[in-house]
Amino acid sequence: MTVATLVMHDLTQLPAYTFLAWLFLGLLCAIVLYLIIRTLYAVSRHQICVAGH
């Protein structure tokens, strides 16, 4: 969705798409960063690669 919005921004140059592109890119970065932190936290607590997962 982020890439599609970036492409639409490129094609139309509409301010709405510029805003949405920044919003989605920011959200995407925040989500991936959050997941990296959660994964590293789980690794540090030895909660990953355990039986039953």
């Binding site: 970036l6 592109a21 995407l28 991936v32 997941l35 355990v50 997962h53």
Partner: protein
């Protein structure tokens, strides 16, 4: 817990981390092209995702050699089986992230990923249709991974192969979803 038992329990779904990082890299690379606002950030994330993939592939390769029964169990499990496609989807995504960075590597990744993903999609479809111990409660959003992964093949595919191949892969993906799921529900 020992290193051996950790390796034994390394889930194939761990490759989804590469999918997430590659997706972020593609978006950042695209933003970089448009705004020049995040110079090299997209490429850094692309290289990071490649590094994570190599490390995971080595670890999972050791698991395949040492604990083949665990791998077979994982790839025949009704729920975990779909996550096997995260390896091939990662290859296809990495071919997109390296499209400008390293075209030769990108082409090799795309060819390997596209062929392996097609094989895995056929394996998954065959299992869903013919295996009798699958139940309706085993259906999960993860089932979309092998099927929807085909939608990514044309992204780099139009650069490395004829557009007809990309078109057929996309059409196959679009037709598998409704057809396959309807067939599965009917057979249960």
């Amino acid at each position: 817990m020992t290193m051996h038992s950790r390796l034994q329990n390394l889930p194939v779904s761990f490759f989804s981390t590469v999918m997430g990082l590659s997706g972020l890299a593609i978006a950042l690379q695209r933003a970089d092209e448009l705004w020049a606002s995040s110079p090299a950030l997209g490429n850094v994330v692309a290289l990071l995702s490649l590094l994570v993939f190599v490390v995971l592939l080595l670890c999972y390769g050791v698991k395949v050699v040492r604990y083949p029964e665990q791998v077979i169990g994982e790839l025949s499990d009704p729920v975990k089986m779909s996550f096997g496609a995260t390896i091939t989807v990662s290859l296809v995504l990495l071919s997109i992230t390296t499209l400008q960075l390293a075209p030769a590597l990108s082409k090799a990744l795309w060819m390997t990923g596209a062929v392996l993903h097609l094989v895995y999609t056929l394996y998954a479809l065959n299992t869903w249709i013919h295996k009798t111990d699958f139940e309706i409660r085993h259906m999960s959003p993860a089932w979309f991974i092998p099927v929807v992964g085909n939608m990514l093949v044309p992204v780099a595919g139009v650069t490395y192969a004829s557009p007809e191949i990309s078109c057929r892969v996309s059409c196959a993906c679009l037709s598998i979803c409704p057809g396959g799921l309807t067939l599965f529900r009917w057979r249960r």
